[in-house]
């Protein structure tokens, strides 16, 4: 299998499983229980928090554990909106956010919030001037993702953070696709809330985190016991949290090296595709991108058919975000970039990761070539 869908999920690092196993086997105490056996589980959770804070460049108290990137996004967006709803009811986001942010904003619209969905340019990046113009005295949250999951395009998060800070508006960035991939700690970006997810960085599914600056007001969305200092109730997924922290620190230590390696592999792959598959087009190539992602449009063939064709040749790729697969709608991200519905439907996403190498990329390229040629030969358009 040549797995090229690392933006959907990643294999769990063996060392991560190793770190988790003690908490699945022997250290199964409830971290909130009042005896020494369970205190070991509590200590494991707090050490994990420490480790993540170190890799992110923040303080341990600013890390909240959740169950998924989606929950982190929901907590960030709903949490600040509810906490600040009396101060104002306007939220600024972009048209290209992950559904975890986008559909949450839509849900808040039903609760009486007004939401601005900023457009992006043809390269897939939001324009800072446009964002600035959208801010009002009513704006209580700006949420702009760090790197888009479908195209890899990086948004001007640092600039947004600086701009929004001056106005005193909380700023959330969904860093699910960049945490553990960038050669710098995510909190350095200056956002007030940052989402990350374990299974995107060679950690477990079911464990994720949200950084929340201590001064940022936030209501909980899961209420109950006093876990996470009342900011997120529910018995902690101890093994998952330990795995998340271990995975994050491993990723962070590899990030610089991997960044360069994947960029070389990705760029070479793109060049071969552009050189030999007529009318192939790289989406987002005009903007800075994370190095592991390429999104390619082909004329007159359907993305899902390409993906099945690749699958039958042992290559795993996707049409866009995994959670909307099956969705008959063309990608909202590509449409926002100005692609036609047909172009969007003829696109696939290839996302590289740690096991990716030249040999695999060459094989993937051959399989892609063959598949596109075959589908074009039976296409009616």
């Amino acid at each position: 299998m040549i797995y090229l869908d690392h933006n959907a999920t990643t294999p769990m690092d063996r060392r991560v499983l190793g770190a988790m196993l003690p908490y699945l086997e022997n250290e199964w105490g409830n971290p909130s229980s009042p005896y020494r056996f369970a205190a070991r589980a509590r200590l494991a959770v707090e050490r994990a928090r420490h480790k993540i804070a170190e890799c992110s460049g923040c303080r341990p108290e600013e890390i909240i554990f959740t169950s998924s990137g989606t929950e982190s996004d929901n907590l960030a967006v709903r949490g600040t909106a509810y906490a600040l709803g009396s101060r104002g009811r306007h939220i600024v986001t972009t048209a290209i956010e992950h559904h975890a942010v986008l559909n949450t904003c839509r849900a808040l619209e039903k609760d009486g919030f007004r939401v601005t969905y900023l457009p992006v340019d043809h390269s897939g990046a939001v324009r800072i001037e446009e964002l600035e113009r959208s801010l009002t005295a009513e704006t209580v949250l700006v949420t702009v993702m760090h790197a888009n999951n479908e195209t890899g395009v990086l948004q001007p998060v640092r600039e947004i953070a600086a701009l929004v800070k001056r106005r005193g508006i909380p700023f959330h960035t969904d860093a699910v696709q960049t945490a553990g991939k960038m050669p710098y700690p995510v909190c350095g970006l200056g956002a007030d809330l940052i989402s990350l997810s374990g299974h995107k960085l060679y950690g477990p599914k079911g464990a994720a985190a949200l950084f929340v600056r201590e001064t940022t007001p936030m209501s909980p969305i899961l209420t109950g016991g006093m876990q996470e200092k009342g900011r997120r109730a529910g018995t902690e997924n101890v093994a998952g949290i330990v795995g998340l922290a271990h995975a994050f620190s491993l990723s962070a230590s590899l990030a610089e090296e991997e960044y360069k390696r994947l960029e070389t592999l990705r760029d070479r792959f793109e060049q071969r595709v552009l050189a030999s598959i007529p009318s192939a087009k790289i989406n987002g190539a005009g903007a800075p991108r994370i190095p592991n992602t390429t999104n390619i449009s082909f004329d007159s063939v359907d993305g899902e058919s390409i993906v099945l064709g690749l699958d039958l040749e042992g290559v795993c790729a996707s049409t866009g975000s995994a959670c909307s697969t099956g969705d008959p709608e063309p990608s909202h991200v590509l449409l926002a970039m100005g692609l036609s519905s047909k172009e969007a439907q003829g696109s696939i996403r290839i996302s590289l990761g740690r096991e990716s190498d030249e040999k695999g990329m060459d094989a993937a390229f051959e399989a892609l070539s063959r598949t596109v040629v075959r589908l074009r030969s039976i296409s009616s358009v």
Binding site: D302, E304, S305, L308, P328, S341, Q345, I378, S379, S380
Partner: protein
């Protein structure tokens, strides 16, 4: 190369939930579509064009009718695997049948012949049926009739 559903179900037959994935037959029709191609102008007695690429799928279908029977059929299809496989199966079901019979082929027939198709792909099976109906109408509405009467 088999589809996951059938392979996995064979291993663990206790699962009897909804069809989640393309089965072997669907994948086979996707990889080796039957009757793919075009008929020449002279062969064509009826032609149907349905769907819209900007809506995700499109199909062209050609039939050649002799003595009220579909003698030749060909298609080209743009769309998802479900669209390609159902198009292919539809042409297989229609080929050799009388036009009257072929008219009665439904999307359910196509899905059944394929051994099922994921729920969210059911609408794809309409494409082939509609293209065939269009081609038959085209044949009935003149071109075909003219040719048949001229024959």
């Amino acid at each position: 190369m088999g589809s996951v559903t059938s392979k996995e179900n064979a291993e663990q037959p206790e699962y009897s939930g909804p069809v989640l994935f393309y089965n072997d037959t669907v994948v086979d029709h996707f990889v080796n579509p039957r009757n793919v191609g075009e008929l020449t102008e002279s062969e064509t007695d009826g032609y149907g064009l349905v769907g819209d690429p900007s809506c995700g799928d499109q199909m062209k279908l050609w039939i050649s009718v002799r003595s009220g029977r579909i003698e030749k059929i060909a298609f080209k299809s743009y769309g998802c695997p479900g669209a390609i496989a159902t198009s292919s199966m539809l042409t297989d079901l229609a080929r050799g049948r009388s036009v009257e019979d072929a008219k009665r082929i439904t999307d359910d027939d196509v899905v059944e012949a394929l051994g099922g198709i994921p729920e969210r792909k059911k609408h794809c099976s309409l494409l082939g049926v509609m293209a065939l109906q269009a081609a038959i109408k085209d044949w009935e509405a003149g071109r075909g009739l003219k040719k048949e009467s001229g024959a």
